[in-house]
Symmetry: C2
């Protein structure tokens, strides 16, 4: 089966020559190739793994610039090692996506008169502006490509199979499409726009109450929308005639077009002086360009759907809670099996990943992992985004400190994401101390009360401040949004060090996942998916939806305050009460009861 | 003596008519009048109190828009009550500066063909861009005024007396002008600019190692700079010939020009294709405009001087520490006097303000208050930026909860800013509980360890998170930067709820000042000026430079953790050890010893 690894593994220099031939024919001196495609999304279809085809790099984010002489790959802080391993240093130069961004490189290397080619359906207004500025300063020109250059040079390009559109009821979603659309159009009216360009697949699927299987990990139909303030909604995707008819006959009358009709329809539809809403960092430059060409204007703000989707309704929350509970039972089965297996059989990292997937398949509505499971023993757990290799990876030993970060998609309406760190015999007191510090950070966020509208960075601090007192820190965010049977990385809610302008509201769902890592030795992370709940008038808190025991061997009860200890005992009691009845197996229940006993003082 | 209150008090409708006459002669339909002047600074000279003259409003920040029919005053959240009291509602409409900003108002009210007049030396590039966008959309035109319209309509406009320039030695500043300039030019070289426009008075005075008395509260010479990458530095201000000669003959050869030579010199100096550095929010639009008119470009980032100035050297820190210590002794005298006076004489808010000023004048190098003292009894302390009225304000009673926020300028190189909340008899247990909560928030920040480069919002959270647990909050920042015998509000370092992109570094100086307020009843704030100090490799902490006792009656020791209690006792011990020897008065020392005893359990 072709996958992105196969595409990357087939990399050879002739690909670059072939790409340069197309560039020459098209009179392009520089070609800009982002990882993302015309949906501006974290996941792309196999046929759009252009970055992997061009460079051999398989990471989830990045961008390449190809010229007559250079191939430069821009990657973020997660990927320097992986990119160095996957690419050929004789051909590909690595740069940091944020510290040495493409526009800096271009400023030094672009020559007067050069044409900088880009796909205006793929490149965002934000990226376009940064590149154009440099071009102007250097008398170069930004030039949209007429067609996808990869059509002409990527010979064995895979198909983009498209799945059936699953239409879901208002009962399933908690709100009808008509109601959602009315709320979106209210926002459009307030902002005085005639059209909204929506390319984020999770936004599109949320709005239309549909799901599909067009992408790995995220159960969506790949499609873009052009939403009119009045009657019209145009959808651009690869949907079958049957699905088109169904969507057209629904009460919101979606008109389906072929995927490649997007530009033409946009051009035909926008009237002079129309204002058009296009997301500056998660939307396409072509939208802005079309609006301006028509004599109108683009409003470049975050899509209103991103914000509406983030606040889950009660139906969505119930489905998420229920899926998290089912998944928690899977976790209990896994941990029970693992604690014994480590001592009695050869268990590899990949083996654990397969096993939790297998346990999940026993849940009737499980459809797929919600991301590639991180099953990492000892030093491997210190690598961000590690995944077990095809040969199985490390074998777990009784002395292993093991990190498992895994989640699933459940079609009742749930996306899950949990991390537990586990050991199988008494750990060193230092490891226990560090794991307890991370647990205290987790509790600090979990029990924090905060005003409505608190910015995510304040809760990030809640986790980090107590760790900083012991001069401990971790180089990732404290939490990210999670969707309702959608993306496991959902915007705009998040908890991170950097300042955010998004206020937290009741009904948002986020992970809480502080950690601590020591290179080549171990990684520790404690992650639960939580919902934001109302506390008192004007005040919010978090409530965990995941109920999985924390490893007792890694908790030093003496380090916990009475409040923290109470939190752990109460959480474990809820794990027992909620998950116990779901297990239906005496041995499992006994294991769970032992795992969730109140902490003791030894 | 004329002051801003006198200018405001003299407001009458005829001023608006006179202004409109000038606008008509100049063919201007809208005039934009910011509070700030051509220095883009918080403090302006009396002659530039244009906003107060036009509207009657005396607040420290705001902006007015005058048209044929309207006078609109835009103010921030601190000033709605004051603005309503100070302005005539028949003539002046109030709007929120951020929630309903001038560009929104303009979008609804500007008519096609209108000329929107602005002073390009006053308006910032950031404000200009926001207004221009709206003008373009409405077929109106932004038009720089040829001269200051107020010259023609403000008949009794005060003079702008300029003080002598006090040149300070490298020993006093800890660094020579040449060394500072070399560091600034390094930044200019890296950013590839030929010229830097510097208008912030504190930046100018810091760079040239000069001080003056041109502004209230901030001991600076009002002057602007045009700094060349190579030899030339032009200064624009009202300096005497003697001072000009001195500055010209110094080793950095500053060329002095009359204040109004700025535009002409800028125009003459910039060469085609020169890049010019101008601060987008604290610099003038004319700089950008001139660069672009010459065929060059403006780099619109925060001035490099703002960042260099923020990290104090050891000489600057020593002077600040020493001034804080002198001022702490003033505070001890004040509190000792106050505790007795409240019971035996009639003490008004204004009386306390005068008294602390009087005690400060006994310190040899005290030159002025560093801001208008907030001396506020009971409900008055719940008003942001309260100042005691000329009639004395409230009289303090034994039952009063009193807030005093006060600081001074000391020419050895110190700017101070301290707040204490005091009561004179046993307070209610609720007030004690609330004051202790605020103290816990103060301690949380004061004892926090954090990585180098931590963003200010993380320390803001350190104060707020424990208060949020009790559903308490306050509507101002947790801390602001303070200068070295410069502005008591110094950028860019700060601790606030909103995200900031400025990383904290050793040598920065900030206040720590959480609070709690109940309208019409009381205000509580505990403020110390702190320096950022190195802890261990890569880690920072804060160290207080102010040593003033916290009111024991307002501390509920039972609410403190052992760590917090230890912090209070240790702080008080340091107060006793450091301030005691400075007092030189047995009665004062006895009072201080009692005030700094370890906390007891009652």
């Amino acid at each position: 089966m072709t996958d992105v690894k196969t595409i990357a593994a087939g990399w050879e220099p002739s690909r670059i020559s072939a790409l340069r031939d197309v560039m020459e024919t098209s009179k392009i001196d520089v070609l800009v190739i982002p990882r993302w495609d015309e949906q501006q999304f974290e996941y792309v279809s196999l046929a759009n793994e252009r970055l992997a085809w061009t460079t051999g790099f398989t990471g989830s984010w990045g961008l390449s610039v190809v010229t007559h002489d250079d191939v430069v790959l821009f990657i973020d802080g997660r990927y320097p090692e992986q990119a160095a391993r996957e690419t050929d240093g004789d051909w590909v130069t690595l740069q940091h996506l944020y510290q040495e961004p493409p526009e800096h490189w271009l400023a030094q290397n672009v020559q007067a008169g050069w044409h900088v080619g880009f796909d205006s359906e793929v490149v965002t207004p934000d990226l376009y502006d940064r590149l154009r500025k440099v071009c102007e300063q250097n008398a170069a020109v930004m030039r949209p490509t007429d067609a996808d250059p990869f059509d002409q040079c990527w010979s064995d390009r895979p198909d983009t199979p498209s799945s059936a559109v699953r239409q879901l009821s208002a009962e399933w979603a908690g709100e009808s499409v008509a109601e959602k659309l009315a709320r979106v159009r209210d926002q459009m009216r307030v902002s005085d726009v005639a059209w909204l360009v929506e390319t984020q697949p999770d936004n599109v699927n949320w709005l239309l109450n549909i799901r599909g299987q067009d992408l790995p990990y995220c159960p969506v139909v790949r499609a873009r929308l052009l939403i009119g303030l009045e009657g019209e909604i145009h959808l651009f995707g690869d949907v079958t005639d049957t699905d088109s008819e169904r969507l057209a006959s629904s009460d919101t009358a979606v008109r389906c077009h072929a995927r490649n009709e997007f530009l033409k329809t946009l051009e035909r539809t926008i009237q002079p002086a129309d204002r058009l809403w296009v997301d500056a960092t998660q939307g396409p430059q072509c939208g802005r360009q079309m609006a301006e060409a028509a004599g109108g204007e683009a409003l470049m703000l975050r899509s209103p759907i991103t914000d509406l989707k983030a606040r889950k309704n009660e139906t969505e929350l119930n489905a998420l809670r229920s899926a998290c509970l089912s998944d928690s039972a899977v976790w209990v089965r896994l941990l029970h099996w693992l604690e014994s297996a480590v001592h009695h059989e050869s268990v590899t990292e990949l083996g654990v990943e397969k096993r939790i997937h297998q346990f999940r398949t026993d849940v009737e509505d499980y459809t797929a992992p919600s991301f590639r499971t991180i099953s990492a023993a000892d030093g491997n757990a210190s690598l961000a985004h590690y995944s077990a290799p095809a040969d199985g990876g490390a074998t777990l030993k009784p002395s292993t400190l093991f990190l498992l970060d895994s989640g699933g998609q459940f079609s009742r309406g749930g996306t899950t994401d949990t991390t537990r760190t586990w050991c199988f015999q008494k750990p060193t007191s230092e490891r226990r101390r560090l794991a307890t510090s991370v647990l205290k950070a987790h509790i600090a966020v979990a029990q924090q009360v905060f005003p409505v509208g608190t910015l995510g960075h304040a809760l990030d601090s809640a986790a980090r401040l107590p760790m900083w007192q012991a001069q401990l820190d971790y180089d990732h965010g404290t939490g990210h949004g999670v969707g309702h049977y959608l993306s496991v990385h959902e915007f705009p809610q998040r908890m991170q060090k950097a300042g955010t302008a998004v206020g937290l509201q009741a009904g948002m769902t986020l992970t809480v996942e502080p950690g601590f890592y020591r290179a080549d030795e171990f990684g520790i992370r404690h992650e639960n998916l939580c919902e934001v709940v109302s506390h008192a008038e004007g005040w919010l808190g978090l409530e965990s939806m995941a109920f999985v025991p924390f490893n007792r061997l890694l908790i030093d009860a003496g380090m916990l305050t009475p409040v923290e200890r109470g939190w752990v005992d109460e959480y474990h009691q809820r794990v027992r009460e909620k998950v116990g009845p779901v297990l239906g197996d005496e041995e499992l229940i006994a294991w769970l009861e032992a795992a969730t006993e109140p902490l003791s003082d030894e």
